[in-house]
Symmetry: C2
Subunit: 137 residues, 2 copies
């Protein structure tokens, strides 16, 4: 795959406290907590370098959206692809290589089209097409 | 902090199998497994985008080097700083913000100078100065 890593997401139990740590504590820029908990879109994004973002996402939302049970620490690495077809193709490739596809590519609540797989060690990846990223190019 | 994220490291139980998955399976470029297990430098790096790397590191090495017990999934996010002083400074800042410093800044076996902290949710970060990166600029 042509790797374009856009977001490193940490599953958190206390979104407010964790946001405070990274923003006030470490000084990472953020717009704070945005989105709606009922739609699993409540999240805090922090700008890192090179278009990379750190995201804090409540554990329940991450579990629900990825269909992956997250006990202990849960990290989701998001990989952007250039089309819906590329998302489906990469998920098939991952499955053929031994990954478990937790959730096939689908319309995500935040307007992207993507799915989730876990690698042979159980690490969770998102493969997603974000139409906004393409149209901005 | 001025975020410069250089490596996302996954603690793995089967380095060979995990390397095969990301290299042969997903096609990520790598030089394969390098380094010495006795020195905790055995690792596989994969080139991602924008100077970001994915690393697979045996769980025991990661635990020993970071002084952090990793049960379940262990992810280490590495953040480069521009000097030894900056590494010490950021670790102090993290501690003041509520992080646990697992290991103060020290000479690391691979020639960097850095330390490790865990955020309030227990996620593990490395803060490190790599003299090679500076001299190549």
């Amino acid at each position: 795959m042509q790797p374009i890593i856009s977001v490193i997401t940490l599953a958190v139990d206390d979104l407010v406290q964790a946001t405070k740590f990274y923003h006030q504590g470490l000084g990472l820029p953020t717009k704070g907590v945005v989105g709606e908990p009922e739609q699993d879109t409540q999240v805090a994004f922090f700008k890192l370098n090179n278009n990379l973002k750190l995201a804090l996402w409540p554990r329940e939302s991450l579990q629900r959206q990825t269909s992956c049970a997250v006990t202990g620490h849960g990290v989701l690495i998001s990989h952007n692809v250039v089309s819906r077809e590329a998302a489906e193709q990469l998920l098939r490739k991952a499955a053929a290589a031994g990954a478990v596809v937790n959730k096939a590519a689908h319309e995500q609540p935040w307007g992207c089209f993507g799915g989730y797989f876990t690698d042979p060690e159980g690490y969770l990846w998102e493969v997603t097409f974000n139409p906004d990223l393409v149209s901005k190019d």
